[in-house]
């Protein structure tokens, strides 16, 4: 279901670009899995891989045992980071079925 959010970003990519916002998606998926997803779903923005949940933990977003077979994954969250590296907006989804209206 969280693909809905990525799909929403792809749909509004032109608007993001016009606003000077570069969307970047991060998950525990390996680069290979992300590449398959990009190919299948036609995503043209960057998908980054954090299979060891190193960055996910650095952002305190770890969902322990949230993935299949009890894998640790990221809880859904979004951060808008300005050019100085400062967070300007943050959102923590409470329901995985909620796709942020972009």
């Amino acid at each position: 279901m969280c693909n809905l959010e990525l799909r929403g970003i792809e749909k509004h990519l032109a608007e993001f670009q016009a606003a000077g916002v570069r969307p970047v998606a991060i998950s525990v998926d390996t680069p290979e899995q992300s590449r398959d997803l990009c190919k299948k779903a036609g995503y043209t923005f960057s998908l980054l891989s954090d299979p060891n949940t190193e960055v996910i933990r650095r952002y305190h977003l770890l969902h322990t045992g949230g993935g299949p077979d009890g894998h640790d994954i990221s809880r859904p969250a979004e951060f808008l980071v300005d050019s100085n590296g400062v967070v300007r907006w943050a959102n923590f989804t409470e329901d995985v079925r909620v796709s942020r209206a972009c």
Binding site: M1, C2, N3, E5, L6, G8, I9, F16, G20, V21, R22, P23, V24, A25, I26, S27, D29, P31, S34, R35, C38, S46, L47, L48, S49, D50, E54, V55, R58, Y59, H60, H63, T64, G66, P68, I73, S74, R75, P76, A77, F79, L80, V81, S83, G85, V86, V87, R88, W89, A90, F92, T93, E94, D95, V96, R97, V98, S99, R100, A101
Partner: protein, 153 residues
């Protein structure tokens, strides 16, 4: 002996049918984005609860006054279907929200976003600093939107 065709229509059962249909249709709201979409799961749940209430009310009428109201058999069928769908909806609702609470330790508005360097789909390492500076293929952005998603889909 009461004439079967003379019995009154059991309106709560019909209201239940409409609410059940609306509840099923509301599942589609997850696939569209509009302002207020975050309330779609609650709406879905409320419609199923309401339909179950109407079915139970209609069924009670049909059982209590079978000579007045129709729908004793249909009432049972709809009530069972409605309650099963409600149970499934509650289950999905619970599973969908079984997320750890947002941590206060996560970067907050006004704080610096922690630096990172991760592999992209080509295996190239990309850092937050690089993303903010803009790469050779893209101009320097005004902002970067970091979207953490669950993966495995």
């Amino acid at each position: 002996m009461a004439d079967l065709t003379q019995r009154r229509r059991n309106w709560p059962l019909w209201a239940g049918v409409l609410l059940l249909a609306a509840g099923l249709l509301s599942n589609a709201l997850f696939f569209v984005s509009f302002p207020g979409q975050q309330f779609a799961p609650w709406l879905n749940l409320a419609l199923f609860v309401a339909s179950a209430i109407f079915f139970i009310a209609g069924l009670r009428r049909a059982i209590a006054q079978p000579q007045v109201y129709r729908g004793k058999i249909a009432g049972w069928i709809f009530t069972v279907i409605s309650v099963l769908l409600l149970a499934f909806t509650v289950f999905v609702f619970y599973i969908s929200r079984a997320l750890p609470a947002a941590s206060a330790a996560s970067p907050q508005v006004g704080q610096k976003a922690p630096e990172f360097a991760l592999a992209d789909t080509n295996g190239q390492t990309v850092s937050l600093t690089q993303l903010l500076a803009g790469s050779n293929s893209a101009a320097r952005p005004k902002a970067v939107l970091l979207v953490f998603y669950r993966g495995y889909w």
